[in-house]
């Protein structure tokens, strides 16, 4: 392993998103705060609690997950795609950086950005709902895993994409709909059949429930199932990203 090389790329990837904090840190905070205000208060007026959990606290984990997953995804995907587009990918391909160096550097930076945004979303939400976290270590560990998984997915999508349009398919048509339909604002148990069954096919539901367990101490499905689903998608993405980098898929002709 090229330790200095990995560390340099990690620092570069981190500095890259810190250079544009309005876009990378503030923008998701504003969006999520608006979600919280509109959905939490407007709906909270009618739906006071879900499964014994106050509605504001109920939606908090889903909003954290939305910010965390989108930002982890965007960090790797935008960086890799822009590098391909601008031609600076040559710097990394010619340098003595192995697959492990590249994977670690890109994804640790993605996890850092995702967890920073997730943390800020938690802080803003907590101003409305209270700062209590039931299982903080679980939240950190779970957040790390979600960040890693979506960072890897972002890397895979960016390597595969030839156009910006393709790059946007995943966040627009997969991550956001699955997150909104993944029990962020409601419990799957509240839906009538067959929607409650269909909801349970959505893997993001288990991620939201996993994080909900850590934040509020209750979830409609086992947090271990959430961990297994996230880990499974993470492993699949890891295998795909490793193969793409090792084989030079769409990187080395």
């Amino acid at each position: 392993m090229n330790a200095i090389g990995f560390r340099t790329l990690f620092i570069k990837e981190t500095r890259r998103f810190l250079r544009v904090p309005g876009q990378t840190l503030a923008q998701p905070v504003v969006t999520t705060a608006l979600y919280f205000l509109v959905c939490g208060y407007a709906r909270g007026g009618r739906v006071r609690e879900v499964g014994g959990v106050p509605y504001g606290r109920f939606i908090m984990p889903g909003l954290i997950l939305l910010g965390l997953s989108q930002n982890a995804f965007l960090n790797t995907s935008s960086s890799m795609f822009i590098a391909k587009l601008q031609g600076t990918i040559v710097d990394l391909l010619v340098a003595p950086l192995g697959v492990v160096d590249l994977l670690l550097a890109f994804n640790l930076a993605a996890i850092l950005r995702g967890m920073l945004v997730g943390g800020i979303v938690w802080f803003i939400s907590a101003l409305f709902t209270g700062f209590e976290v039931s299982h903080p270590l679980w939240v950190l560990m779970f957040g790390f895993l979600v960040g890693l998984t979506f960072g890897l997915v972002g890397l895979v999508v960016a390597i595969w994409s030839d156009k910006f349009e393709q790059l946007n398919i995943v966040p627009t048509f997969i991550i956001t709909p699955l997150t909104f339909l993944g029990g962020v604002f409601y419990s799957a148990d509240m839906l009538p059949p067959p929607w409650s069954y269909i909801s349970r096919v959505n893997p993001v539901l288990y991620m939201v429930e996993g994080l909900r367990y850590g934040v509020v101490g209750a979830s409609s499905s086992s947090p271990w199932l959430g961990l297994a689903v996230t880990g499974g998608i993470g492993l699949l993405s890891l295998a795909l990203a490793s193969w793409m980098l090792a084989a030079g898929y769409k990187l080395r002709s």
Partner: protein, 320 residues
């Protein structure tokens, strides 16, 4: 010949893109410390050859080694030794030249060294823009930054793919002297260029590639001696008159036998200097009618060599 590995060695290197043959089996051996120029028309396969050696393109067949390290089987070790100036300008819009160079050192496993970064910025006349965002650099500055990125980690082999395209004349000369300095420090330089003057000024050896094949390889001096022709350019006081019975003016038979040609004005005769005595030729030229007004000699150029070699279909003129 000692036992040290060649700086760069390719054996029967081939690259096909579906039906298109980009490289048709190029074997080259470049010694350590050489300045080696790779010439050829657009699309000849020069960039493909460099890209395979630098690990950007995978060969369809054949092998490539950098200082004994196979670029596929021992890729990381091979890449540690090289620096590449790609043909296309690229820049990272988030960072400054100073940051970009420091990152580049890090990628090669070297701790960023401010002194070294400053030295490279100075050598490439970028000190004044060291802390400016790369977006604000001119095209020439961006190209110089590319050169800096390829050199900052002190690679043992540097590939310069069209390094001075778009760079002004004064800076091009500065870069040439920097390249010579690098060679004196033991760096091997492999360059492609469209400026044949550049290859002629810098290169110890030249390879000419055409349609994916090596059509010429020798020292610059030998290629010039073999394919370049020194010639006399003779201006007459008046146009050559027509030969009786012929429509066009013509030169005397002895001059035509030497390969001389007459330009459209009928006043300029160009005559290759062959193996014969120049003094004897000058004496015969003095008998020309109309008489000679002026005589000039033209030195052989790499351009002549290049045109000669690339105009031969499937040439195969390979020296050493």
């Amino acid at each position: 010949m000692n036992g040290d590995p060649a700086a760069v060695e390719t054996e029967d290197l081939q690259k096909r893109y579906d039906e298109v043959v980009a490289l048709a089996g190029v074997s080259l051996s470049i010694g350590a410390g050489e300045i080696f120029a790779l010439l050829g028309p657009n699309g000849a396969g020069k960039t493909t050859w460099i890209s395979i050696v630098c690990g950007l393109v995978r060969a369809s067949a054949g092998r490539a080694r950098v200082l004994g390290h196979d670029v596929v089987a021992d890729a990381i070790a091979a890449r540690r030794l090289v620096g590449l100036v790609p043909q296309e300008i690229n820049f990272d819009p988030f960072f400054t030249p100073r940051e970009v160079l420091a990152f580049q050192m890090g990628y090669y496993g070297q701790r960023p060294d401010r002194q070294r970064v400053d030295e490279v910025l100075r050598a490439l006349d970028l000190s004044g823009k060291a802390d400016t965002n790369t977006r604000a650099l001119s095209g020439g500055m961006k190209r110089r930054l590319l050169i800096g990125k390829a050199l900052v980690h002190r690679p043992r082999v540097v590939f310069l793919d069209e390094p001075t395209a778009g760079v002004d004349v004064a800076l091009r000369r500065d870069l040439w002297s920097y390249v010579r300095q690098l060679r004196e420090e033991g760096t091997t330089i492999v360059l492609t260029t469209h400026y044949l003057e550049e290859a002629e000024a810098l290169a110890d050896r030249v390879a000419v590639i055409d349609r994916g094949q090596l059509v010429g390889l020798d020292t610059t001096a030998s290629l010039l001696a073999r394919f370049g022709r020194k010639q006399l350019r003779v201006r007459l006081t008046a146009p050559v008159g027509p030969v009786p019975g012929a429509v066009a003016p013509a030169l005397p038979a002895w001059l035509l036998d030497l390969g001389a040609t007459l330009d459209a004005s009928g006043r300029i005769v160009t005559c290759p200097l062959g193996a014969g005595s120049p003094a004897a030729l000058l004496a015969r030229l003095a008998t020309l009618d109309p008489p000679v007004a002026d005589i000039d000699t033209e030195q052989p150029s790499l351009e002549q060599v290049f045109l000669t070699l690339t105009s031969r279909a499937g040439g195969g003129e390979v020296g050493r």
